[in-house]
Symmetry: C2
Subunit: 589 residues, 2 copies
């Protein structure tokens, strides 16, 4: 079975085409340093010009008052124009030609400023805007991720699928058989369950009004889906969660919404109306930019100031309402400059809010969101963990080597929530063939790495699927979104395992914020240490079907956690002998 | 017509395969800084390890006594072992994985040392030598290219095709009709002709004994082909050339020689004999490494010390005999460490010798010869000049932009002799459809750029071809190697043009060693300035079928050279009005 994760760059052809386009064009593509500038810190802007562009000049047009920069041939028509200078050239064997690299600087700005900019290159007769005319923006402030993000343990709730109290039941409209009847009051009723599990942060899939059960096609960004409840319910949920020490992250979809959204209906009926420019009509009223080819999901034109303001107002509204941050759906969709404003909006309405993106993209693309958000869901780690622990395609050493390189690639300030699965792919337990040992080992690994772990609802009690998500070449996502199981259906032993794992992470700061070093790996075994100033813990994972017994020189000696009672450690001075069953793991302190 | 120049990386498929192999493997590939270290200067060695290698350690094994380094897992078995440390990781979209980069240092060495090294990466169970086990070497000395290289104007003589005095004629064996009967005495007899032209350096295609007319398949590296003459003739040629201020470069082919070479015959007859290891037999006696698939050209095993010594002795022999340097044929063929020894051999036998390679390869490959030789024939410039001036596929601006990037890519100390054609491709005049204007403009450009210009024999008097080199998918190189024309057959007007061009270059140091700046370009016109501390000259090229007239702000005002009398300049203060006919060019001082 192929793992169904990666979208736009899933084939060799698409990857080569992407490289050709990016390296062959007039390309800025977020080559900005730093990505997230501090007040008064100058920002270096880089541009590459591909072999087929005979351009010897380049410019940045920029503003610091929120308006759109404009300019031509190095002359600003709004804002400022700054020259880039050629710094070197680079040979590209794929394109069989030289790239020219330009560099320039935007001077340091005051805290609170949104700098919006475009980059261009040309010669005296011609000028081409970088990246098809993309606008970029960054927000200037000293605003690292909130401290609580490092400590977060996230429980992802698919709102419709979680729980419906019997009192809510009559209110719910009929839905197809696969679907559930979850409500906000249902979540409130199960907060004690979640508190018992131990997670300290909820991520709710979209709860705005929507014609679908999943909510990724909102008809309003300012209301609650009546099927799920009311604003009062949501307020109560926030309060009740807070009372249990839990924060709430909302799912935010700035790229698109439903074609039933009133503004879209109005735009298709009146091309002179106020909403026409909220969309990008290629041919009015029936052809418009949308999410891939989904005509039911028109793309919001975030370059149009009123539409942008509307979306940003929504982002501010819910933070002020009481939410703690956002998981931003399909974050590669919006124009890049949106994130300068989004950062300003989220940081000013709630300075300690936490935002991270969903970019089903490789690391270089993930990193472009640095500064616009606090991080991104760690899709590369997801792929690596599934390859290793579920599919057995990578051995322990390959996974360890991946971890080393992956962690070296990202700055520590870029938060990367980790996950084993989500609502868009087969559940981990399903792809692991129902093998609970593999799930436990993967979870142990997940919880001993730096990224804030996300548990997809039900994983903690063995919820799996009836069938594969991919059926006859079509994705049937409902398979990965089965109703939450309760009572007898739950695997309580697994629940206890997750409870202990969460306690472990909560207890040890080194697991949340310590540095990680691989100290041993071979085909079966991976051993790494996490340590901060206070303490150090060693995780030992047996990624094989064989029982293993081996010695390691370790200062750590006591078992802080184990996947099962067969995992043992014997100490004889510094030398430790470790016994692990197949797919067993242990944490030593 | 496709221009027939590039070989091994001529298709997209081959380029992508090359990138996959290089970035996906354990790769050093000459990532050394500096390439050409000074005495006591430490040398940084880089290595990348592709996604599929789970390696967390890397080492350099090296010697400084000429012997082969040897080692395993960081322990030297001969010479020294030095650890490389992981420095960062790099995402690669083509390979869809991370590369890990390692870096280490070889300490500075005394002048005159050859450092030989290999690089490897591994983990505790496995070790892989970089680049399929390649040996590398560099020679430590403060030895920039000789000063005369900057002033060289090279005349390339295909020895068999140039001139045969009537007294030599009876001695020459019969050869196919296309072939000529050139001899060394013929060249001596024509030295006055060459002196009249004005070039100050001869490059002779191979003159060693060989069964072929072209000589790229020697049967001895220490004799002169009797068909061409004797050692006495060659000695006399050197003396007579020197008397006219000319130096002599020989064509040297270290990679392979003829299967008629006595050592090869012996090796195929006696697998226990002393010559068996001079070759790489895959299956003795009939399968062996050779030049591409040419079984007539067995590859010399330069990793075998006696074979290497033999080749190096030849390199020393002819420098001591009186030659001034080498054009090294197919320089990508020999093992990389050969060039450490080659450098030592050439620099110690003749400190001011000049050596440059023939690598029909892109710039990144050219640069790997830095330190081993003084430079490489500029194949990228060749391709660009033919594209622009002969084929009209690049306009003036595109060519100017190429020049900027190309020159920015190479260090100034890396000599890049320029040429419009050679014996392996269609002559320039042929691909220019016989249009002398295009040849003149290209030559003007060539002679006003930094690289030492090479004139392929006959180009100066309009020698062209009967037919295309590529016929029915086969290369008939003889077409580009027609006998030199003499007397009435010569285009004397073109000869005078070349004479003037050579005088121009000789007169103006700025054209040989000044910096170059593009000061104007559009689709038709390219203008650049060369200037050193002493003087500055501006070259103006009209790369179009149209007459042009335009104004430029220039300090330079007087015509120092023009492709024809229609080229004019009118001065009115700083503003100059320039008139150029189609494919006309002018140099202003």
């Amino acid at each position: 079975m192929e793992d169904f994760i990666f979208g736009t760059l899933s084939t060799d052809e698409s990857r080569i085409a992407h490289l050709r386009l990016q390296r062959g064009g007039v390309t800025h593509a977020h080559q900005r340093s730093p990505h997230d500038p501090l007040p008064d810190q100058a920002i270096q802007i880089d541009l590459t010009v591909g072999p087929s562009y005979a351009y010897n000049q380049a410019w940045i047009y920029w503003t610091n008052d929120g308006s759109d920069p404009d300019g031509k041939n190095g002359i600003a028509l709004n804002g400022y124009a700054t020259s880039l200078e050629p710094i070197d050239s680079e040979w590209d064997t794929l394109l069989w030609g030289y790239l020219r690299r330009f560099r320039g600087e935007i001077p340091g700005q005051r805290a609170g400023t949104v700098v919006r900019y475009r980059v261009s290159a040309g010669n005296k007769d011609e000028e081409t805007l970088a990246d098809d005319g993309a606008y970029y923006a960054f927000y200037v402030d000293n605003d690292p991720p909130p401290a609580w993000a490092q400590d977060a343990i996230i429980y992802q709730i698919f709102a419709d699928r979680f729980f419906s109290p019997s009192s809510d039941f009559p209110k719910i409209e009929a839905k197809p058989s696969l679907k559930s009847n979850g409500t906000l009051r249902g979540i409130i009723e199960k907060l004690d369950y979640i508190a018992e599990l131990g997670t300290n942060c909820l991520w709710l899939t979209p709860i705005f009004p929507s014609p679908s059960y999943h909510g990724y096609d909102a008809t309003s960004f300012f209301e609650i889906n009546p099927r799920l409840g009311t604003k009062e319910d949501f307020k109560k949920l926030i309060e009740q969660a807070q009372a249990r020490g839990m924060r709430i992250l909302m799912d935010f979809v700035p790229n698109h919404w439903s074609n039933q959204h009133p503004s879209f209906i109005e735009a298709t009926q009146n091309r002179n109306g106020q909403y026409f420019n909220w969309y990008t009509f290629e041919h009015w009223p029936d052809q418009y930019k949308c999410f891939f080819t989904s005509r039911g999901l028109p793309q919001i034109n975030l370059r149009y100031a009123p539409a942008r303001k509307h979306v940003l107002d929504a982002a501010k509204y819910w933070l002020e309402f009481g939410a703690d941050g956002y998981r931003v759906d399909y974050c590669i969709g919006p124009t890049p400059d949106f994130y300068g404003d989004f950062r300003q909006a989220t940081r000013t309405s709630k300075p300690d809010s936490w935002t991270f993106g969903e970019a089903v993209d490789p690391p270089d693309s993930q990193l472009t969101f640095e500064g616009g958000m606090d991080g991104a869901l760690d899709f590369m780690l997801l792929e690596a963990m599934r390859k290793t622990y579920a599919f057995g395609r990578w051995n322990a050493r390959q996974f360890g080597e991946f971890l080393d390189r992956h962690e070296a690639y990202f700055p520590a300030t870029f938060t990367r929530p980790s996950f084993l699965d989500n609502h868009d792919m087969n559940r981990f337990l399903w792809v692991a063939g129902g093998d609970i040992r593999k799930l436990k080992l993967a979870a142990l690994c997940q919880f001993t790495l730096a990224g804030a772990p996300v548990i997809y609802y039900g994983t903690e009690v063995g919820l799996s699927q009836h069938d594969d998500v991919m059926q006859h070449g079509r994705a049937i996502h409902e398979e990965a979104r089965l109703p939450m199981i309760w009572g007898e259906a739950q695997d309580r032993e697994l629940f206890n395992f997750y409870q202990d794992l969460i306690s472990l992470r909560k207890k040890h700061s080194a697991l949340r914020s310590g540095t990680r070093t691989t100290i041993f790996s071979d085909e079966k075994i991976l051993v790494y240490r996490r340590s901060d100033g206070e303490e150090s813990l060693v995780t030992v994972l047996n990624v094989s079907e064989q029982e293993v017994s081996f010695e390691l020189e370790l200062a750590e000696s006591a078992s802080a956690f184990a996947t099962g009672p067969e995992c043992k450690v014997q100490a004889a001075g510094g030398q430790k002998r470790i016994f692990l069953p197949p797919f067993g793991g242990i944490v030593l302190q």
